[in-house]
């Protein structure tokens, strides 16, 4: 169900998907945002009450001008939880959302029951440079994001609309989203998490697509080095977007970890 939450006396207006019943699960989307076609949220909603807020700058959410850096974003999520009356939740963060979830946990462990970082950004290894997805064209993006760039799901993600109005709308939306994402990811997706990740106490699952070409699984290993109570889980036939490409395997790994 789509809701709009007023946060911090109108500083932010947050468009949010709220799905299902159970313990609260906060889902932090990646730089591409939620697509409006995100069936894995429903699936997770069978066991949890899923809150999936659009970060300001994404979807209908506003107030992006009050978020300049990682700390601003972390405090935004904490404030949102305060106003939703949630003390502590399961956090699932994808890509950029994984980076922000890890940062949020490092700032305040008490808000995190368990943490799932999937295809997460936040580190940089010179030996494994992360490709510049800001500069990537749609066809290149399909290669970077998906195990099978020719699958229907990959095609749907990178389709170019025929009519000009839709194309313009898509372009404007992309600019809005990535402009916000650039505050955390440009030009190198590293804002110093390596200095702070030692603080993360929550049991952490590092859930990666085996053939992630954007942030390859070697980065799961890097997170493992920094987060003491963490373990890796690789998903077969999945790239950078495992919740779309291997929805069932993704959801069951999340469920098993959070309920286990």
């Amino acid at each position: 169900m789509k809701t709009v939450q007023n946060v911090a006396n109108g500083k932010f207006s947050v468009e949010m998907e709220v799905v299902g019943n159970g313990a609260p699960l906060l889902y932090l989307h990646g730089a591409g945002g939620l697509t409006g076609m995100d069936p894995f949220l429903e699936e997770l909603g069978r066991d949890f009450k899923v809150y999936a807020p659009h970060l300001p700058g994404f979807g209908e959410s506003t107030g992006g001008e009050h978020i300049d850096d990682v700390l601003d974003a972390v405090l935004f999520y904490h404030q949102l939880m305060d106003e939703l009356g949630i003390d502590s939740a399961y956090w699932v963060g994808h890509s950029m959302g994984g980076m922000l979830a890890a940062e949020a946990a490092a700032v305040d462990n008490s808000r995190v029951k368990k943490l799932v970082l999937t295809s997460a950004a936040g580190f940089w290894l010179d030996e494994h440079p992360i490709p510049d997805f800001f500069a990537a064209q749609l066809d290149e993006l399909a290669q970077l994001l998906f195990h099978d760039p020719n699958s229907p799901i990959a095609k749907a993600f990178t389709a170019i609309p025929d009519d000009f109005k839709a194309l313009e709308a898509m372009y404007v939306e992309r600019v809005k989203r990535l402009a916000m994402a650039s505050k955390f990811l440009w030009p190198i997706p590293d804002r110093g998490l390596k200095k702070r990740a030692y603080r993360i106490q929550a049991p952490t699952l590092l859930l990666w697509g085996e053939s992630d070409k954007l942030i390859p699984p070697v980065y799961a290993g890097e997170f493992k080095k920094h987060i003491k109570n963490s373990r890796e889980h690789l998903l077969k036939a999945a790239g950078h977007m495992p919740m779309y490409e291997q929805q069932e395997a993704f959801c069951s790994a999340v469920r098993n970890f959070l309920k286990g």
Binding site: D68, D132, F134, A135, A136, Q137, E140, E168, Y171, V172, R174, V175, K176, R177, L178, A179, M180, A181, S182, K183, W186, P187, I188
Partner: protein, 435 residues
């Protein structure tokens, strides 16, 4: 009417298959395509060309800033302007300019501009571009979403550092300084005239109108396509109740003069082709980082200068098309006179920025075009806009107060006489003149 001879300083020796073999002339162009020995010759040829334009009576000499590319080899235009300050006497130094959001602290730009103004006796035009997305976001790593805010703050700081009588503290979002106390002060008080080069962002119109700056539209599409931007600018000026003074607008245009229209095609067509197909061969992913252009500009439907859309628009254009569509104003002096008069009137432009060395154009052709324009075109257009005051040109020291560099002595001439410097007629001429 005023004329600035504007140099882009391209690398002239990219391979013929450059476009097929490499994805971009900017950002990730392989370093081994640059030969520093050829670079040495090019810088010196290009400075010769600007100095020649000074002697031919052009009002301004234009230079600008770009990074990691073969389109324009001036990471620091201030170095070029410094060289010109000593070897030219008359023309203004139009530095269009320094991408002020990239410098930390930005008062570095205020200092260097003040130095140039003092060295040149008050001949500086200070240009403040945002900078292309390739330069600012990709080469210099500036976050696209905050680039403009950073630019505005840098601007405010620089202006305050020039205008404030006393030392002050600056508590900005991007720059904090306890002591701002600019030494030296510019000759032109409180500061040199400011021109803002733009590629068609709507915010820039407002910014220029609000601050009484000159707006310089730097387009590669020529005056016909540029009309939309000029109209947008004058509309904003009118709305804000500003005077429709043509000197408040600059426009960059490719211009190439030869003896006849046919000869112009023979002379310049291959070099224009090099300009459009090699110098502007920019990978689409580098053309426009997300957040670089505002949503407002995108919705205004203004086309970016480079990238896929821009290349598609130029694809397959013949010399005849380029001339017809105004990308280049080329031909005999008579043809160029007529087209330019029409263009300048319809744009309402008082400061023409002439792009006369284009792509692979060699020195002898640059010299020919520059000289023909100065002798047979420029004098015929001087009468344009006579009723208006040009408030955007430098106010230099009176002649009696200008310091003269000591004359050069060419004792080294004997030694360098046999030295191989092929083809560069202008440098040969310089040596000849020294004897």
């Amino acid at each position: 009417m005023k004329f600035t001879w504007f140099h882009l300083m391209p690398y002239r020796f990219l391979p013929d298959d450059f476009k097929e073999k490499y994805r971009s002339v900017w950002v990730d162009i392989p370093r081994d395509l640059y030969d520093p020995k050829l670079g040495h010759r090019l810088y010196n040829d290009y400075l010769d060309q600007l100095e020649f334009a000074d002697r031919m009576g052009y009002d301004g000499l234009g230079v600008n800033e770009h990074h990691q590319n073969a389109y324009g080899m001036m990471p620091s235009p201030n170095i070029m302007a410094a060289a010109l300050a000593r070897r030219t006497r008359n023309a203004n130094l139009v530095v269009l300019g320094n991408s002020i959001a990239l410098y930390n602290p930005p008062i570095r730009v205020a200092e260097e501009f003040a130095m140039l103004d003092v060295i040149s006796g008050g001949r500086l035009v200070a240009g403040f571009p945002v900078g292309t997305s390739m330069d600012t976001n990709f080469c210099y790593g500036a976050v696209p979403a905050t680039l403009r805010e950073k630019y505005y703050e840098a601007h405010d700081l620089i202006i305050k550092s020039w205008t404030e009588e006393k030392m002050f503290a600056w508590n900005g979002k991007y720059t904090q300084l306890r002591y701002v106390n600019l030494w030296p002060r510019p000759i032109q008080q409180p500061h040199p005239p400011i021109w803002i080069p733009g590629g068609g962002s709507v915010e820039t119109y407002d910014f220029c109108a609000d601050h009484d700056y000159q707006y310089s539209f730097l387009s590669y599409f020529g005056y016909i396509a540029g009309q939309k931007v000029a109209d947008g600018y004058w509309e904003v000026m009118a709305k804000k109740g500003k005077e429709d003074n043509p000197y408040a607008m600059g426009f960059a245009q490719c211009v190439a003069v030869s003896e006849t229209d046919e000869q112009a095609e023979k002379d310049y067509a291959p070099h224009m082709d090099y300009f459009y197909n090699r110098c502007l061969h920019v990978y689409n992913g580098f053309a426009d980082a997300p957040g670089y252009r505002t949503v407002k500009t995108i919705k205004a439907g203004l086309l970016g200068q480079v990238g896929k859309q821009a290349s598609l628009r130029r694809e397959g254009l013949t010399w005849g098309d380029l001339v017809e569509q105004g990308y280049v104003i080329a031909g005999s002096p008579k043809t160029v006179r007529e087209r330019l008069r029409e263009a300048l009137k319809s744009l309402r432009c008082g400061h023409l920025m002439l792009l006369m060395q284009l792509g692979s154009m060699p020195p002898e052709l640059v010299r020919k075009s520059t000289e023909l324009f100065a002798r047979e075109v420029m004098p015929h257009l001087r009468d344009l806009w006579t009723g208006y005051e040009d408030r955007w040109s430098p106010k230099r020291l009176p002649e009696s107060e200008i310091a003269m560099p000591a004359p050069l002595k060419f004792e080294l001439e004997v030694k360098t006489n046999g030295h191989a410097r092929h083809g560069a007629e202008s440098s040969v001429e310089a040596r000849g003149a020294a004897k």
